[in-house]
Symmetry: C2
Subunit: 204 residues, 2 copies
């Protein structure tokens, strides 16, 4: 088999290594040497495949954030009944985070460092907004199935309870003295727990 250009296998190994290192240490903390080591190559070869650290990082960041945002939008904008949708969001979110525990800290860090227009450039085309969700909530309020509530606050609550535990894990473990294994178990339980907690609070 003829290799037309850069070796696809090596390129893939580098991307995986870069993803791992960047997610754990962030842009500022990551070293090209770390990534090279993780990929089992040396720095020179790393630069042969990806000319600069900035460029490599941008690929990882774009890829990570774009597999995250559209996924949740899809659920939010679906036409499920509200309670079912809430259950779906919690389950889906937490399942994904159990598999990618470093993702929230990475994304939040890097998003905070970018200028204001950055998200627009990156996510602008994905019309990531809550208008459909807001309308759905207002409809339910009018029907009288749920208490009056500010949709943005409700959404913040759901997102907070799903994501924060993965950010505050070390602090939580210190306070509650749970082991790593027990922590995962707590998160598994959260998939249904958070949804029930929310629904119990808003239903009339």
């Amino acid at each position: 088999m003829v290799k037309k250009q850069k070796d696809a296998g090596t390129q893939q190994r580098i991307l995986e290594a870069a993803r791992k290192v960047f997610l754990e240490k962030g842009m500022a903390g990551a070293r090209m040497q770390d990534i090279a080591d993780e990929a089992g190559i040396n720095k020179a070869l790393l630069h042969y495949y990806f000319t600069s650290k900035d460029m490599l990082f941008e690929q990882i960041f774009a890829n990570t954030s774009q597999t995250f945002v559209p996924h949740i939008n899809e659920i939010i904008e679906s036409d499920m009944p509200l309670f079912e949708k809430i259950e779906h969001i919690c389950d889906d979110y937490i399942s994904m985070l159990i598999k990618n525990p470093y993702m929230p800290l990475f994304l939040i860090n890097e998003i905070n460092k970018q200028d204001g227009d950055f998200l627009k450039r990156m996510w602008g085309k994905q019309k990531a907004n809550l208008s459909f969700f807001v309308a759905q909530i207002q409809k339910e309020v009018k029907k009288g199935t749920i208490k009056p509530i500010h949709p943005a606050q409700l959404y913040m609550n759901i997102m907070s309870m799903c994501v924060f535990p993965f950010l505050g894990k070390p602090m939580m473990q210190f306070m509650t003295k749970v082991t790593d294994k027990e922590f995962v178990q707590l998160m598994e339980e959260r998939k249904t727990f958070v949804a029930r907690f929310v629904i119990d609070s808003i239903r009339k």
Copy 2:
């Protein structure tokens, strides 16, 4: 007036400058030059007062985390009635975070980077645990005033809803299109909103 040792005023200015820079950029992102600029001095003088960046950082980190943890423990371990305590925690937490919006990201980042035993060394003596809160909840469950609930999950929920919005602010602003001023307003409203949300969910 005789100066026995290093100028207290300058030292203070440096600490304030370091705190500001470290909170905004974290250990890896902060530059000694930034801190010197912020304090209105040069790098050499900065090193005269604090021999190394590591050492300066450690002081800021220790100070920041130690003004944070005991504060919340005090409320948790008080003997207020449960609902009142929840209201108190939310109000207090969010008020503090409106004043120190960079604190959560800073603490979470740096805590995540430390090894497992680090928190024990730093907070070990402050017996930061939830045993009293747990007992109080179990008592209320037995009395039948609240639904059965895992205390750790409940505490995670409260903490999540108070802290997360400050971490996810840019993402939230992108999705909900609120301005900075409106965001602060939303947080002000959250002081009572979160408490009510929690209490509505757990009360029988």
